[in-house]
Symmetry: C2
Subunit: 155 residues, 2 copies
């Protein structure tokens, strides 16, 4: 048994699993036409959602400043995933909405994640995957932000 398991390994394994999934996702997305999609884009599109949000609201959801959110939107616009439109109800605001290309990315991502989980089930068995998920649910504080992006290095 793993009596001498060092606590060092756990974060590495968790990150490794995450990273493996995300790498496979983007491999597959690239193969399906989303060559320029990056991990951060998916999270942002997810936060934008099908209803659309303002940049300020996006910043709140992602846990970053409105300026940072604005820059992210700029990049997404340049890549064709979202577009800005003047708000109908607020003269200051601009609503960021997914383009059909953006909706496509989200849909494909969901499908690919399902496939990847199915692969894990194929190697580990459904019980161990279920157990892994429920263990993590029990131990991960709820409402964890997916700000995540720069969190690694910067203050």
């Amino acid at each position: 048994m793993s009596a001498v398991t060092s606590g060092y390994e756990l974060p590495l394994l968790l990150f490794g699993g995450f990273r493996a999934l995300i790498d496979r996702l983007h491999e597959e997305l690239a193969r399906q036409g989303h060559v320029d999609a990056r991990p951060a884009h998916g999270f942002a599109l997810q936060a934008i959602g099908t209803t659309g949000v303002t940049a300020a609201e996006l910043g709140r959801r992602l846990g970053v400043s409105k300026q940072a959110a604005g820059k992210t939107v700029d990049r997404l616009v340049r890549l064709g995933y979202v577009e800005r439109a003047a708000s109908e109800v607020d003269g200051r605001a601009k609503v960021v909405r997914l383009t059909s290309f953006g909706v496509d990315l989200l849909a494909r991502s969901a499908a690919i994640f399902d496939e990847l989980r199915a692969e894990w089930v194929a190697t580990l068995g459904i019980e161990r995957v279920d157990s892994l998920e429920s263990a993590l649910r029990a131990v991960v504080p709820p409402g964890l932000r997916v700000d995540s992006f720069g969190w690694f290095g910067a203050d």
Copy 2:
């Protein structure tokens, strides 16, 4: 079985677990005097090791360019975690070595990670933690790089 579990949740849980661990680690490190330590620093110090390496070698270990490694070393020097010394055997090379402050960070990190794993064991039981680790070991490709830093956004 959990028929409706979306594949979307798995990466989020994995990342959440990782993130929770790292956040707790840095809370505790800050409390113990390492206020300016960032996740990326720990990984770099780990790669430098107690023997010391050149910037180019560090780049190789981290899977980044030697220039990027050099910049990382600059930051670590500024924070007091490492120091540069001319190599005894190679007139071009400068050896990066941990300071005692850097060694201290690594030692405290190891201790804290052990405590955190013990907390998981306390909530989940040893079987579920062992099972989680072995499941991930089976599914994470070995030799996964901890380059990781910028990998989120950039190419």
